[in-house]
Every structure is written in C-alpha cells, then in structure tokens.
Symmetry: C2
Subunit: 175 residues, 2 copies
DNA sequence: CGAAAATGTTTAGACCTCTAAGAATAATCT
DNA sequence: AGATTATTCTTAGAGGTCTAAACATTTTCG
C-alpha cells in the first residue's frame, strides 16, 4: 500500500547542454519551469522513502504550522483549488495522517486535524526539504539568491495582476 | 471542438501576502514553484484564445525550430518522458497540427512533421509568449534578471547531479 | 545466420491539478 | 418566517505528467 514511486526519469544532459548553450533572450519562463521540475523531483525522491507523496507534503507542511482549519482555508494557503485539496485530504485521511471533523457550530465546514502519526512525520520530512534547498543553491552566491528571491516575488505579483486584468477585461458576458 | 478552457482560479491575495510577510530562510522552492504556476497560467490564458493547450505549445515551439525529428528526440528536447510526448503528439495529429510518418529506412522510428496549419500558429503564438515574459519581469532590474538566470541554471545543474547521485547510490538491487 | 541486447513506440495505470456544476448549509434581507 | 444569496464541500470529467511494462524493430556478436 501507499505505493509512492520515486521518479527515475532522466533530466538528460540534453537539457543541461541546451541551457548552457543557447539561452536566448526570453527563455526565463523555461528556466523557472525546469528548476521547479528539478526541485520537485528531488523532494519527491526523498519523500518516497517515507511513502509520502509530494501532494501530501504540501498540506502537511501547512498543517504542522496550524491545524484545525477548514478545507477552504487550506486551499487558500496552499494556493490550490478546492477539489485538489479535497482529494488530497480524503486520501490523507485514509492513510491516517489527518482527521476531518465537523464541529458543532457548523455542519458545513470541515475542519482538518493532524493525527499523531501525521504530526510525527514532520521530524523526518522537514530535514529532507531543507536538504533539497541546500543542494539546489550550492555554489550560488548569497547575493544572487537574494536577487532571485526579489525577482521571483515580483514576477508572481506581476502575473497575479495580469491574471486579474485578463479576468476583468476579457470576460464580460455583457456590458 | 478543441475546447481549451482558460483558467479562472484566483491566485489569491492570500498567497501574495504570504510571500511578502514571512519569507523564511528556505522557501526558495516555493517561490520558484509559484512563479512557474503564474507563468503557466498567464500563457495558458492567452493560448486558449487560439484553442491551443499548454501541453501542445511545448512541442510546437520545438518543431518550429526543426521538424522531422523522432518522438524520442522530441521527448529529450522537451525534457519530458516518451508517453507524455506520445499522447501530446497523437492529440496534435488529430487536431491537424502535425503529421507522424514512418520513413522508408526505418519502420521503428516515428518522424514528426508540422502541417502548414501547425506552422502557421507560430506567428500568433510566439508574440503571446513574449508578452508573458515581458509582463512577468516588468519592473525588475536587468541585473536581477541576470542573477536569476544564473541562479536557476546552477540550481538545475545541481539538482540534475543530485538526481544522478541518488540513482547511483540509492538503487542497488544487490551489491 | 540466429540469439541476445539495445532502441523506440505504445499501452496501462497512477497522481496531481484544474474547471464546471451539483448539493448542503448558513447568512441576509424583505 | 421565508425566499434569495453566499459559502463550503463534493462530484464529474478532463489535461498533463510520470513509472512500469509490453511490443516492435534494429543492431550486435558469437
């Protein structure tokens, strides 16, 4: 059970050579995407040793900080849509990591609590994430890391604004 | 047909506030991931106007540079696994963007060629990607962009090495 | 030559994510 | 109070990605 496969696919030399050679003028998006893939795979490979999937890690991380929140709050904090949260949490409940409870004051909301087992994972999993981060930025000057943080944050803000603008401007059913 | 939905989900203020406030010491991975999501959504929203899905864009971009390559080569260039390439290409063939042909000298390899229709998309789609890149880095000092490029490239290299090491060191079935 | 190994494509099945729409419950407003 | 609106969770269905394994076709080599 809980058959979490470690990824074994090759991020081939092909990709690395590709990036080292022609980095044209606006392939930043690709760099960002490939970096995400690398980070995800590295963490996934480590989490698999504890039979934890990447999708579950996302929610565990939030719950370790504060559990007893609703699924909707969890979705917002994770930046994921409700159905994603829903299916992850039902699976995690089946695995015994969390418990979903309705509290007396509302029959609509579902509150999510960690089980002791879910809470115990923190000690093993957090160091894995720290290791991945450490491996990833090995050899990168701190000021470059800082600049990267600034850049990514601005990008996220710019793109959120762009998305809001597209929704406003592009979706009028009628005037 | 070709019903490609533009994403409408909110990258809520919740996320932005989250990032602006506590950016702890090693949440770089999350920043990178959220940036990827933003970039993907922004491009997706624009591609949807031409009924092109994000998954197809990835391969079109490569084929505009050079078509007549095998699926395996395409996989390597896209950095994706063969089954992913396979299903994308069969879908794209159904849409009339590409043609998959076996050439006389080999009955094993499948060569992929753009149709005129697939080739024609370039004129509309490339400007969209450029726009997304432009929007994303708006207001970011060029030297920060350069540092970000360096950092991401190093991260990709570090993580590829890490993955190779894990495969070597972690997978021995027997001594 | 013919068996074994390597290569390339395809199928099967799983996970994570999304949008769209349904259902249940809570809040609001006349 | 009762009807309408809003919120939250759930279901349904799709896209895109992966691993594992089956299949087909070369290539290699005894």
């Amino acid at each position: 059970m809980t058959d979490v496969a470690a990824p074994t696919g090759r991020i081939g030399d092909t990709i690395l050579r590709h990036w080292r050679e022609a980095v044209p003028n606006d392939r930043l998006a690709h760099l960002v995407k490939d970096a995400t893939r690398g980070l995800t795979r590295a963490l996934q490979a480590r989490l698999a040793a504890q039979s934890v999937s990447f999708g579950h890690w996302v929610f565990l991380r939030i719950l370790w900080e504060a559990d007893g929140v609703t699924q909707r709050q969890l979705s917002a904090q994770a930046g994921l849509m409700e159905p994603t949260t829903y299916s992850a949490l039902t699976a995690m409940e089946k695995l015994g990591y969390v418990e979903r409870r309705k509290l007396p004051h509302s029959r609509k909301n579902v509150y999510v609590f960690l089980t002791p087992r879910g809470r115990a994972l923190k000690a093993k999993l957090v160091p894995m994430a720290e290791e991945v981060n450490e491996v990833a930025i090995r050899g990168v000057p701190p000021e470059d890391v800082a600049a990267t943080r600034r850049t990514l944050l601005t990008m996220i803000e710019n793109l959120a604004r762009d998305e809001a603008a597209l929704d406003q401007g592009g979706n009028q059913k009628d005037a």
